[in-house]
Symmetry: C2
Subunit: 317 residues, 2 copies
């Protein structure tokens, strides 16, 4: 029975992964400091005999090392998730993502755990010149502190694979949708529309094109790849094979909620400094392994809105 | 008069840069903790009225911020230079290179200094699939902790350029040769041959191909680019337009020293784990600005051997 250690286990993607691992028969230790994770997301896991939670911070070497003991594989998903306001606290991405990943790798060395699976981001491609963007796209220029810190994490992991005989998989994600979605534009839109259904402020000009993936499709891809770890190190893009504009998704959200708000654009071609105007990943590498997304972006958006409407407590912050 | 701040000012490349900046009429503050830098390398600078030395560690935010006050441009050259033994102390590259670069950037923000020039490495291309390797080569896989930490530094700098309006230039260096050369295979070879001229141990099989650049050619390129900073962020490869094998350079060294040692190969196609078997950079971008190297690799190797023979004190460690 594989013993899986999941950092960020109480997060949106982390908790979906925990559920997926448990249903595949893994023993799972979830590690989380609950800075943004939610106990409610682990309700199903808590009821499972193969799940154990370890409360701890990624910065706490001792707690991390001890919680990891006996694991076969580490799924490193914990990260500073506040991408948008990175410029207000530049040390956050460094400490929680770059140094955090280093501490996970060192805890692995001390515990003689050698397999790691890491959630990175399509933002590492910066303003991609090749779209859809493949894993071996031209060497990108980093435009955000978040993506820089994820790139640093990727680089540390590949160095450990080459230097210490680790086996590593890096997934470069698009934005995720679905149950337990807790931040991002759909969250903001639904929250706003429930309070004020007649108008909707939109960052940028609404033409920003983005690609998304339904979180359970993401987990399925991760489980598929992990079932046969590479000899050394591999990178996989993960995303749907389509994209939409912010305006598309506003249309799907408002029609799902049966509303017709007046849109108030802040202007400009991107949401914020460092926001990538267009992320659309070439996912042929993961698709060649037989994976495909089961939900379209529209279905993912609607699933997300439905979940937010069913779980309004999450909007109260 | 431009006020230049140079980290790693007492190092091999740093001290050559200091001399170059002074002769171009800059005011120069050199910052160094003398962990590997040498006071002797700053002899010429100490005699110049426009030079000031600040002793300090890159990790010491207060010292760094205070020494930087009043500067117009930061040349960030300090780094953990012990590439080969990175795997014995993985935290060294993280602390001295990645976190060090972050601290330099934060000291710049606090001092309102916005121009930064950074020495990175051709090793960030990992095992390049395109040779000669251009700046926009395919997204590489990192194979060493050193290159990973340099890539992290690059990414932080470009993020600061995009996020805070900094202007940045990153130079990806090949290995440097010339006066004040203090570590690398020529150092090891000359040191060994002076003691034991009849045999020479060689890491790998001697076929590793490498490109080098004469340090004063490097400084000339850096000064040229810095005289017209980019609007945001640019990367330049820096190297000679040729390469050699370790065997070539052994031939040049031994014939220059008039010796014929027996070569003892350790075997394998690279010197150590994480060593890149072949680094040869496409330097057409920097050459399009009118720069070219004045010395061939052979001339650079001979200049280096001559300097080592004239400065045997440096071999005594």
């Amino acid at each position: 029975m594989t013993a899986s250690f999941v950092t960020g286990a109480a997060g949106f993607i982390g908790s979906a992964l925990v559920d997926g691992l448990l249903s595949e028969g893994h023993l799972v230790v979830g590690y989380d400091n609950f800075s943004s994770g939610r106990e409610a997301f682990l309700e199903k896991a808590f009821a499972h005999p193969n799940f154990k939670l370890a409360r701890g911070d990624i910065s706490d070497e001792t707690a991390l090392e001890s919680a990891m003991k006996g694991s076969d594989v580490v799924w490193h998903l914990s990260a500073n998730a506040d991408v948008r306001f990175g410029l207000e606290h530049p040390q956050k991405d460094l400490i929680e993502n770059t140094i955090g990943t280093f501490k996970v790798l060192e805890a692995m060395r001390r515990n003689d755990v050698r397999d790691i699976i890491f959630s990175s981001t399509g933002s590492v491609y910066g303003e991609a010149t090749v779209i859809p963007t493949p894993e071996d796209a031209p060497f990108p220029i980093q435009t955000s502190l978040y993506a820089s810190s994820k790139l640093s994490g990727e680089a540390l992991i590949s160095s450990y694979c080459h230097g210490y005989g680790f086996r590593g998989v890096v997934f470069r994600f698009v934005s995720m949708l679905g149950e337990r979605y807790t931040h991002g534009h759909i969250f903001d839109f639904v929250k706003h529309l429930l309070k004020e259904p007649r108008s909707l402020p939109v960052l940028g000009d609404g033409t920003q094109r983005k690609s998304y993936l339904y979180v359970k499709d993401c987990i399925e891809a991760m489980l598929k790849v992990s079932s046969k770890m590479p000899d050394c190190f591999e990178v996989f893009n993960l995303g749907a094979d389509e994209y939409c504009t912010v305006l598309d998704s506003i249309g799907w959200i408002t029609s799902f909620m049966k509303l017709s708000p007046k849109l108030e654009f802040s202007g400009g071609d991107r949401g914020w400094v460092g926001d990538n105007p267009f992320i659309f990943l070439d996912t042929s590498k993961i698709r060649s392994l037989g994976w495909s997304n089961s939900l379209s972006i529209r279905q993912g958006v609607e699933r997300t809105v439905q979940w937010l409407l069913d779980n309004r407590w999450i909007l109260e912050r």
